[in-house]
């Protein structure tokens, strides 16, 4: 090979390397974007298939209380009152409130559950045990940690407690399976006891106070026995 050809060959190689260096990050971004879009569309499709939110036009619009995170303290739950058309059937009603909880608050910072999570199925057994089956996103996309996992479970349990008095216990499944923990910390092997006492209409005048005036609930000071595991049958 003459020196001239060697120069051309080296030059060509350098151009190829530079082109690859420029193109590679672009390609990687495209692949990531495509993967994300695919994931989103799968999630969307799953939502459409699994969540026909049963809204009956005849359902009365009632004030319901949902529990999302506090915008000032990320380990605290605050009750938020919203008006929803809710079925009288406890299973449909549970699905309606949980889907609203999953859809999230106006302020995304107050979310307690990942937006990708989907309620796949919900059952209510005759003894008052609710079985809520969520998609894997609940376990894989929730911030890992005792506080964040406890907050997520408490938000589900408190929302059911406040709106569906028939629910006495809550068992959480992930994609139809019993999991040992939610995301490495919180125990999911047992049902959580839901304090039905708080689901009764509050007798005190304080019940009419704005939602923000209600006492905040933290994972560490959940009143009653909420979200406390109970004995296995």
């Amino acid at each position: 090979m003459t020196p001239r050809w060697r120069i051309w060959a080296i030059g060509g190689l350098i151009v190829a390397v530079v082109a690859a260096a420029i193109y590679f990050p672009i390609l990687r971004r495209r692949v990531r974007r495509a993967a994300r879009q695919q994931q989103q569309s799968e999630e969307q499709a799953r939502r459409e298939l699994t969540q026909p939110i049963a809204v009956n036009p005849g359902d009365p619009r009632v004030k319901s209380t949902l529990f999302w995170g506090s915008d000032t303290n990320d380990s605290t739950l605050v009750p938020v009152t919203v008006e929803l058309p809710l079925s009288k059937d406890p299973v449909l009603r549970s699905k309606q409130v949980l889907n609203t909880l999953l859809a999230g608050p106006v302020d995304a910072e107050s979310r307690t559950l990942p937006p990708e999570a989907v309620l796949l199925a919900f059952y209510l057994l005759p003894d008052g045990t609710a079985v809520a089956d969520f998609s894997e996103a609940l376990a894989t996309l929730i911030p890992s940690g005792i506080a964040s996992e406890q907050l997520a479970v408490n938000s589900i349990a408190r929302t059911l407690e406040a709106n569906v008095p028939q629910v006495q216990r809550l068992k959480i499944l992930i994609h139809g399976q019993e999991m040992e923990t939610l995301a490495g910390h919180l125990d999911l092997t047992e049902a959580f006891v839901v304090n039905t006492k708080l689901a009764q209409p509050p007798p005190s005048p304080a019940a009419n106070a704005p939602a923000t005036a209600s006492p905040a609930l933290t994972p560490g000071q959940a009143p009653g026995k909420l979200a406390q595991p109970e004995s296995k049958p």
């Binding site: 990320d74 380990s75 911030p143 890992s144 940690g145 005792i146 506080a147 964040s148 406890q150 907050l151 479970v153 040992e180 923990t181 490495g184 910390h185 919180l186 125990d187 092997t189 047992e190 959580f192 933290t218 994972p219 560490g220 000071q221 959940a222 026995k225 979200a227 406390q228 595991p229 109970e230 004995s231 296995k232």
Partner: protein
């Protein structure tokens, strides 16, 4: 899991220190199968009273735990924290047994088994959270567990923590109080949560969770380690007089 805990071979809380239903009837002990990690054999050296701390750096192996955007992994940080906690505890005169010393991932039951095999031990599991005010620390004890004692006097492995909840809360309050003094913004009192690791542990057991992996610089977490170590060591030392195990003469496995 249906393993039962065998009587007369393990630590028992003093009834006055543990306001639980008939704690003397509960005689937990390690199940068969042994513990993973770097257990130190302690049976020969055991004396009455609290003298062993089982230290559990959570996660490990393929389970990194919480992950920060800057590449911080909970499993690595807690291992580094454990070194300092261990040193502080040894300075207080405690023997320390770690559930892991490298990048292994013992199961929850293996970690519990390591504590359940000891007499006169407390269990401390270390975590770093994904959320919470950075620079703060929380201590958790297990949520209330109904005591389930069989007619044969055994308690199920699944309920091993039940008779120790009173002592766990006492230990947790002591450690949380010291952490609150060192790290502003930390809660003043111990929290409760259904922590899987604690449920099967037959000893006073707490989880310490540091906030958080979201810090921009890992050094921010590293700077907390001496304070956390000091709080745990002094908390356990302050707890020691509250915890006395009976001088049983039964043979140990």
């Amino acid at each position: 899991m249906s393993l039962a805990l065998i009587p007369s071979q393990a630590q028992q809380p003093v009834p006055s220190a543990a306001p639980l239903a008939n704690p003397s009837a509960i005689s937990p002990q390690v199940p068969q199968g042994g513990a993973a990690g770097s257990a130190t054999s302690t049976f020969g050296a055991q004396q009455a009273g609290l003298n062993i701390v089982v230290l559990d750096p959570a996660h490990g192996g393929t389970d990194p735990g919480a992950r920060g955007t800057g590449g911080i992994r909970e499993s690595e940080i807690v291992l580094d924290f454990a070194i300092q906690v261990r040193r502080a505890l040894e300075q207080e005169g405690f023997q320390v047994v770690q559930t892991r010393q490298g990048n292994e991932d013992p199961t929850f039951d293996d970690r519990s088994a390591l504590a359940n095999a000891q007499r006169g031990a407390v269990f401390v599991t270390l975590h770093i959270s994904s959320t919470g005010l950075p620079g703060t620390a929380r201590v958790y004890v297990n949520s209330d567990l109904p005591a389930a004692i069989g007619a044969n006097g055994l308690i199920p492995w699944d309920r091993a923590q039940a008779p120790f909840l009173g002592l766990s809360k006492k230990l947790g309050e002591l450690v949380q109080g010291l952490l609150a003094q060192r790290f502003k913004g930390s809660p003043d009192s111990v929290q409760t949560a259904s922590v899987r690791q604690l449920r099967t542990t037959a000893a006073p057991a707490i989880a310490v969770e540091i906030s958080s992996v979201t810090v921009n610089d890992r050094a921010d977490l590293d700077r907390m380690a001496p304070g956390v170590a000091d709080a745990i060591a002094h908390g356990v030392a302050a707890f020691k007089p509250s915890y006395v195990i009976p001088n049983t003469t039964g043979a140990l496995p």
